[in-house]
């Protein structure tokens, strides 16, 4: 069986690369990747070894003029609309997919016409902002999402919270939506913990959905209450100026630092040293960084948004606080500084749970069932 997965930007997000590795390692399914939001054309180097194809689908909004002219010159008498459609279909047809899987609902909304033209069943993933934010922004998006949800073979959600939100939005029966958890690489398990005293870290794109302003305000409250700590924020994004300003304005230069974007091996090093990871998100599906932190055995302080509460429970395997409440976050950070034994115990419980929840075997099994692949191919 051949599955063509359509992603957004090259070389694909880490969690999608891990997903592909899990599928390719544990099954005989052929996996091909197409990228929908690039200014590139043609075959691309494979980000995951074992992919049968890896190419860019021409996104005509992003292509340069010269590339458009090259495509146009092939059949000058044909209408531009038909030529665009034919160029995209030509790329996809050579894969001969049995199923097309769109890695984001927004990608499916834009490109599901391919599946219709090729008469191939399609599935898609619901991951977060595509059902949490986009339906609020544009009128037609929700209508189109409803239409493609009816036409799709099955739908994948990364957590129960997103599943119920999606079903409420589109009116699709819950039986059509499968919850399959994300997969985390085993290398996070190999992190040897040597925590430094009072070092908090927070990892994520500097985007409003991650709620970093709350984290910085919480840091100020901890400092005012006499807490002695360091907070390192790892990531890059459009909110950088905002967070930098807050750090200056709240006079936290000595204890809060923006580290910028870091590679995975560098983040593993931060995980090794951290007393705890703090997540102040306002809007999430299930954040991958929490899955990685769980597997690495890092104690977690997090807000209870999206699907986080489905896996992490307060005082059972993490410290969970109300979303958008810097005061609560500060109190938990203070408690964490005072209870080192408890936090390491919670982290060990979370680590054990993560091994089974985010395992590649489980992920592969679930996805093969989702695509309704014969058992013999596993």
């Amino acid at each position: 069986m051949t599955v063509l997965e359509i992603l957004n930007s090259y070389p694909g997000e880490t969690f999608i690369r891990e997903h592909a590795r899990a599928i390719l390692r544990k099954s005989t399914v052929e996996l091909a990747w197409a990228f929908a939001q690039t200014s590139l054309l043609g075959d691309l180097p494979k980000p995951v070894s074992g992919l049968s194809y890896c190419f860019a689908m021409p996104n005509f909004n992003r292509l340069s003029k010269s590339k458009k002219i090259t495509i146009r010159l092939r059949r000058p008498l044909r209408s531009w609309h038909h030529e665009k459609e034919a160029t995209v279909l030509r790329c996809v047809q050579r894969v001969k997919p049995d199923v097309i899987h769109f890695q984001f609902a927004s990608t499916a909304v834009q490109w599901s016409w391919i599946a219709k033209k090729l008469n191939v069943p399609f599935t898609f993933s619901v991951r977060g902002s595509d059902v949490q934010v986009l339906p609020l922004l544009t009128k037609h998006y929700l209508e189109r999402l409803k239409k493609i949800s009816v036409k799709s073979k099955r739908i994948h959600a990364v957590c129960d919270n997103l599943k119920s939100l999606f079903c409420d939005l589109t009116g699709i029966p819950a039986a059509k939506v499968d919850v399959i958890r994300t997969v985390v690489s085993d290398r996070w398990k190999a992190v040897t913990r040597e925590p430094e005293p009072n070092l908090f870290i927070s990892v994520g794109r500097l985007h409003w959905s991650k709620g970093f302003p709350d984290l910085v305000v919480a840091a100020k409250l901890v400092k005012d209450r006499g807490g002695d700590f360091k907070l390192l924020i790892i990531g890059e994004g459009p909110e950088r100026a905002h967070i930098e300003y807050l750090i200056r304005d709240l006079n936290l230069k000595d204890c809060v630092r923006l580290e910028g974007a870091k590679s995975h091996s560098e983040i593993q090093n931060y995980f090794r040293k951290a007393t705890a990871i703090v997540l102040s998100s306002l809007l999430e599906g299930f954040p991958n960084v929490l899955a990685e932190a769980m597997l690495a055995g890092v104690p977690i302080i997090s807000t209870n948004c999206g699907g986080i509460g489905e896996i992490l429970q307060d005082k059972k395997n993490a410290w969970i606080v109300q979303t958008g409440a810097p005061d609560d976050l500060a109190s938990q950070m203070m408690r964490c500084l005072d209870n080192k034994v408890v936090q390491e115990r919670l982290a060990r419980i979370a680590q054990k749970q993560a091994e089974s929840i985010f395992s590649p075997e489980q992920h592969c099994r679930d996805f093969l069932r989702f695509w309704q692949v014969d058992k013999g191919s596993t």
């Binding site: 949490q132 922004l137 409003w208 100026a241 306002l282 958008g324």
Partner: protein, 405 residues
């Protein structure tokens, strides 16, 4: 000695007329009347239709009599011929600018860039140069372009706050600094700029023009809270939404509605947060509106709310006070100078949602307080922040600077 009306002034702006900054439209038009020889240098072309509506066709035309534009890359070869012609025509000034740029440590292509971008004003003699925002000064080689001409620049907020060290070079090149309030003055002094070279001129409440203030919007019958600004992180909507949620939680089933007027990158955040907090039905996003429409929408409200975390002075709060609305604002930047705490509204500590909620509830539950503060706000604005006073102060500052040289 030249008469005031004969003085040649060059005003450098990013764009005129700009829909985002209507206050500059009125200010420039008035200054042009006082200084008919004032010329404009614009970084971008403006939306002339917009100024037509606010000022009228003839007044708008009058301001745009002598306008130069920053060079834009084009396919038209004639434009490049004009550039070369202008550079050669004022060869002495061009060489001086080039050498000055090199002395400042700029690379050769940067120095040539200065010649090309500003070719229209090369070799022109002015009695005064006015730079409308410090940010613009960073693009210019000020002393290379205007060797001995007095240069006045305005600090309008965001400059010292967002990039504390970024304006030190500009401050060394200008003769005089105009700021909107004491907050910005102290920031400039903190950067080593001498206090006797700083003039405070607060912004003015804009004229309402043809707006019918008695015409009420189709708002809910209860209390309507209004905010009007660009939807950017500096405006602190994260705290405004939480304060609004706090009111709804504490007052229960009271008819309160929150109107947000404006557009910007935080729209996505506001929509998503309102949904997450389950207060979306109580919030209306009006999007970007014309100045007249904003005046109508704000004047129909009962309380004005702005919990900014960074602010220079803020024109919209001033405008709301001029329309008789009590304001609840944060203590960011110049807002404590803008709103008289306890008289025309409440100034609460920034990042403190609880204090903002308390102040809002105080106003919601007390109709007399709302009315009293609204009247006081209107009186104060009509007394202190009028366009005439602002233009007089500008004229005085310009005259002083021209006399000094």
């Amino acid at each position: 000695m030249k008469k005031t009306s004969d003085r040649r002034i060059l005003a450098i702006l990013s764009t005129w007329p700009s829909q985002q900054h209507p206050y500059i439209i009125f200010l420039l038009a008035e200054l042009k009347i006082r200084f008919p020889n004032m010329e404009l240098f614009l970084f971008r072309r403006g939306e002339n239709v917009y100024a037509d509506r606010l000022l009228g066709f003839y007044k708008q035309k009058m301001v745009l009599q002598n306008v130069f534009y920053k060079f834009q890359v084009t396919y038209n070869p004639i434009e490049y011929i004009i550039v070369v012609f202008n550079i050669l025509k004022s060869l002495k000034s061009s060489i001086a600018l080039f050498e000055h740029c090199r002395d400042e440590g700029k690379k050769v292509y940067q120095a040539i860039g200065q010649l090309i971008y500003y070719h229209e004003i090369l070799g022109k003699n002015y009695d005064l140069v006015y730079i409308n925002a410090l940010q613009l000064g960073r693009h210019l080689c000020i002393r290379g372009l205007f060797q001995n001409t007095p240069v006045v620049a305005s600090s309008r907020g965001q400059d010292f706050d967002l990039d504390p060290n970024g304006f030190d070079r500009v401050l060394t090149q200008i003769d005089h600094l105009h700021v909107l309030g004491n907050y910005l003055k102290n920031k400039a002094i903190g950067r080593g700029f001498s206090s006797d070279r700083i003039t405070i001129i607060p912004p003015a409440s804009l004229p309402c023009g043809k707006v019918d203030l008695k015409k009420k919007q189709n708002y809910s019958k209860g209390i309507n809270i209004v905010s009007a600004s660009r939807l950017v992180w500096t405006k602190g909507y994260i705290y405004a939404l939480r304060a609004f949620k706090g009111i709804l939680q504490r007052l229960g089933d009271v008819d309160i509605h929150y109107h947000i007027i404006g557009d910007g990158p935080q729209k996505e955040f506001i929509l998503a947060e309102a949904h997450r907090m389950k207060i979306a039905k109580k919030i209306t996003l009006h999007g970007w509106q014309t100045q007249d429409k904003v005046t109508e929408l704000v004047s129909s409200g009962d309380i004005y709310l702005l919990l900014s975390i960074e602010e220079g002075f803020n024109n919209s709060v001033l405008q709301a006070q001029g329309l008789g609305l009590p304001c609840v604002v944060s203590d960011a930047g110049g807002l404590p100078e803008n709103v008289a705490d306890g008289i025309t509204g409440f100034v609460v500590p920034r990042y403190n949602v609880g204090a903002a909620t308390d102040a809002l509830i105080n106003l919601i539950l007390n109709k007399n307080l709302r009315r009293g503060m609204g009247l006081a706000a209107k009186e104060r604005v009509e007394d202190k922040f009028t366009l005439d006073k602002q233009v007089d102060a500008y004229t005085k500052m310009f005259k002083q600077q021209m006399k000094l040289r």
